[in-house]
């Protein structure tokens, strides 16, 4: 029988609030009090800086950030600067890898696989670029990935661009990579994606890739 993975959709919620939720569920997962859990969320405009990155990859002043209502947080995930905002599907899997595969690289590649299969539902052919974690369509990044692991249990995760405000991306060097740009699902399809439906597709593909029975909380 497949192991269960709970799905928890917070809707639009402040980055730090969901961060606290991640940490709470992470502790509970480590103590084996809850099953694997996929948090789905969407954040108000926020830049987060991973351990690899620096503020130099935020290209605008504090004043511009303030005027645009963008918050900045330095956080404990791998990777560089990323943008979160409305129009993205953000996923934070809280998964015990000891009960799956004790292999961080395989985990990262599997998250990419979930997103590649998700995009294929919308007739978008996406792939990987060597040494650049994330999902790409041509030379443009459509999904960013950065994770944390504690006692073989994952937190942080992935972020897929559905129809975010691209103006905000121009305020950073996403993931610290200068010669590549970003794209979104709606930009590629020329249509407006139904977020609710898109999340369902994503959850199904997540269950397929990780062999989990997805259960909505």
């Amino acid at each position: 029988m497949k192991a269960v993975c709970d799905v928890l959709d917070t809707g639009l919620k402040d980055y730090m609030e969901v961060y606290s939720l991640q940490k709470k569920l992470l502790a509970e997962r480590i103590r084996d009090e809850i099953p694997d859990t996929l948090i789905l969320t969407e954040h108000p405009p926020t830049f987060t800086i991973g351990r690899k990155g620096g503020r130099e990859n935020i290209l605008v002043s504090e004043e511009v950030l303030k005027k645009n209502g963008i918050k900045v947080y330095e956080i404990d995930r791998g990777g560089d600067v990323t943008y979160h905002g409305p129009g993205q599907i953000v996923g934070y899997p809280i998964m015990n890898l000891a009960k799956w595969n004790k292999d961080i690289h395989l985990y990262l590649r599997s998250l990419e696989e979930v997103i590649i299969r998700f995009l294929s539902h919308f007739k978008i052919t996406a792939g990987r670029i060597n040494n650049y974690t994330g999902v790409w369509v041509g030379d443009c990044k459509i999904a960013a990935i950065g994770i944390g692991v504690s006692k073989w249990t994952t937190f942080h995760g992935f972020c897929i661009n559905i129809n975010p405000d691209k103006k905000h991306f121009r305020m950073i060097t996403p993931c610290g990579i200068k010669d590549k740009s970003v794209t979104s699902l709606d930009e590629l399809t020329g249509e407006t994606t139904d977020m609710r439906k898109a999340k369902q597709v994503l959850v199904t593909e997540f269950g397929n890739c990780f062999e989990r029975e997805m259960r909505y909380a």
Partner: protein
Amino acid sequence: MDFVLPELGKGIDEATISFWMCEEGDKINKGDDVIEMLTDKATFNVPAPVSGVLKDILVREGEVVKVGQKIAEIGE
């Protein structure tokens, strides 16, 4: 005893020390996270292998450590 960097999983034979969550002289408990390590897209917390007092820290923030390398001494 020697505190060596434990296995981080398949395909990862080294990582960078992001930061120490405790200092020399601190009492640490087996299983508590004491170091955050870093690879390109992931951070990992490494727990203390035994309870004791953290004695000598041999590698500091920003340094690259190989799996199996001694990173600190844990005393009584």
